[in-house]
């Protein structure tokens, strides 16, 4: 597969534990945030998104928390499974669509789940 992160922050957890992946963003004008998962040799895949008028959003086994005061985003994965092993990216945009829409990505975190 493709090598996507030789110098990434890493998080190693035991199967069944909860995982928390953090992301700091710099643009205070960002209005929309997404978490992506990238498995080795594949393109990034959408996990969950959140708009700036919210501070928490839940999906299936995942929760995203947004703290605009300190410009911090986190992704919580409940009952982490071996299939969750991947690189996780946060991404931000000043809007959630429309003209000139583009996402800026963070550098990623490598999550390794030990059986």
């Amino acid at each position: 597969g493709e090598s996507v992160g030789l110098h990434l922050p890493t998080l190693s957890v035991q199967e069944g534990d909860n995982s928390i992946i953090n992301c700091a963003y710099s643009n205070s004008a960002s209005d929309y945030f997404i978490w992506y998962k990238q498995e080795s040799g594949k393109g990034p895949q959408f996990i969950i998104d959140i708009r700036s008028n919210m501070d928490k959003r839940q999906g299936q086994r995942v929760t995203v928390l947004l703290n605009k005061t300190v410009k911090h985003l986190s992704l919580q994965i409940a009952a982490t499974q071996p299939g969750d092993s991947a690189v996780y990216f946060c991404a931000e945009s000043p809007n959630s669509g429309g003209s000139n829409y583009k996402l800026t990505f963070g550098k990623g975190t490598l999550l390794t789940v030990n059986p």
Binding site: E2, L8, I34, K42, Y101
Partner: protein, 113 residues
Amino acid sequence: DAGITQSPRHKVTETGTPVTLRCHQTENHRYMYWYRQDPGHGLRLIHYSYGVKDTDKGEVSDGYSVSRSKTEDFLLTLESATSSQTSVYFCAILGRGNTGELFFGEGSRLTVL
């Protein structure tokens, strides 16, 4: 699956040669993007397109050009490839609906010797 196909998936070329990567989509999406991915840098936007013949630069556009002559194809060209352009290139399209979700292709690995 948003019907995105990238070609070629792997290419090795020499410094100074021109290279074109193709992104093809089958679902008539308006917005298309080219990102490059490098260790320690994450995904960085090269160029994007918001319609036929409508393109704009991203944060790392130097050395790259794009063309969108029809909705389904977005081409990325390296006029004269350099070793610093060795990377994995991802095409993405903006999905429809209320989210700003980008759907990514499988990537094209380019090695410039």
